[in-house]
Subunit: 259 residues, 2 copies
């Protein structure tokens, strides 16, 4: 497989840095092709702005959506954005590895999504009609590819459990896994989360590496999270609310996963 | 009141830019003191890294948590971070205004939280013992202050409704409202969300301004979201799972709000 690792940690000598090195070595040793986007090392520009189109502005002022689309369609994007899109086209599987900062990803990685996910590439794709509301949530330019999060947290596992005070980790990750990955078409594998990483021993580190390697060995066949597809009848179009008979009477993010 | 507006939009001539201007003028006209952190205009540095301490590294390599704490306690933070913390100390109420990009905030605003929320300032505060797990989730250095999100989205309101495909807006905002605002002590007011902003008419814009102004006029007395406090008995310490008798048998982010 072609595997892209997008990682975001400021310190190469950190746990995140080590896990990335372990992942690359293991994947290569198994015969996979590997590319790495190490965002801090690349000094990735985080903020989406008017410099992200090389074209004159389409309208009287900068519009992220309109200008992103024009730049994308006319090959007038900055080289760093176009290169990441090309890596995504190349990849069969993408691993996003990052420390959970404030219950989300580091800003530099959010800026990767904000900038690389151009209008026409990751959104604004496909027809909108009464049966089909664009190619998204299971369809889209990244369909057929797999994605997996590898996340480290300082907090305890129980604090992120289904009734833990931080919120269930699967629901905290919903905006990422469902909104950023499933939306443009990825099949999303269950996340790999390492807890209490500040207190880790050598023994604990070895166990984490084993877990990571085990997950890397099943990237191709692991069962993705069963997020419901938008255009197969589960949602009423155009309201895009879940049909009444599915998860009847229920609310909450988990209704968007088929049981 | 002292009101701080932290806003993140790349284009002053946008809806977000206009709403910010309206808010500032209205608050001042009502006699409030207003400060604005317009992150794009400030060219805010988004990525947290070793340049965010002016001290020598505490350990052999950069550790965001350790070095952030040392810099904070020893007044060795970069001026931009210290200035934002000072604005937070000054403020009675903070408004965070941004477009929802990929179901979260723009990277530049995430980088405000990553950098301004130093260890010792917004986390790592208070004692940890069997009855009290740090000053957080209702306690902390920002306790007594109010916060409110003002968010714009391109998507339809129904797509963000309790059974909408994007996920319930209140749950999508949980990592922000609960994790970034309630955690260090803020009382969090219900968010003000404007939908389908790309298609807005002059009439729609006027209605939004009315809504915004109405919310600004009730900042001081509006009822905050009833997020459960950590240290008042609702959660078992140190597991920090919600007591079995509260929201009995339920899971999902909404259990952390007292009904």
């Amino acid at each position: 497989m072609n595997v892209l690792i997008v990682c975001a940690h400021p310190e190469p000598q950190s746990l995140n840095g080590s896990l990335k090195t372990v992942a690359v070595a293991h994947l290569q040793q198994r015969g996979h092709q590997v590319k790495v986007s190490d965002l801090y090392a690349m000094r990735w520009k985080a903020q989406l702005d008017a410099a992200d189109t090389l074209a004159p502005l389409v309208g009287a002022h900068y519009d992220a959506s309109v200008d992103s689309r024009f730049a994308f369609e006319n090959h007038l994007q900055p080289a760093d954005i176009a290169a990441e899109q090309e890596k995504l086209r190349w990849a069969d599987c993408v691993i996003f590895q990052f420390p959970l900062w404030w219950f989300s990803m580091p800003a530099i990685l959010k800026g990767w999504f904000d900038r690389v996910y151009a209008n026409g590439f990751a959104y604004g794709v496909g027809e909108h009609n009464d049966q089909h509301w664009g190619d998204r949530y299971g369809e889209g330019n990244l369909a057929g590819k797999r994605a997996m999060l590898v996340v480290t947290t300082g907090g305890w596992e129980s604090h992120y459990s289904p009734r833990g005070i931080n919120g269930d980790i699967n629901e905290l990750l919903f905006p990422i896994q469902h909104g950023m990955l499933f939306y443009p078409g990825f099949s999303v594998l269950p996340p790999l989360v390492f807890y209490r990483v500040q207190k880790s021993s050598q023994q604990q580190y070895a166990a984490w590496c084993d877990e990571l390697v085990a997950r890397l060995d099943t990237l191709a066949e692991a069962e993705p999270i069963a997020f419901r597809r938008q255009n197969n009848g589960d949602y009423d179009i155009p309201a895009l609310t879940l049909n009444e008979e599915l998860a009847a009477g229920k609310q909450g993010l988990s209704i968007h996963i088929a049981k």
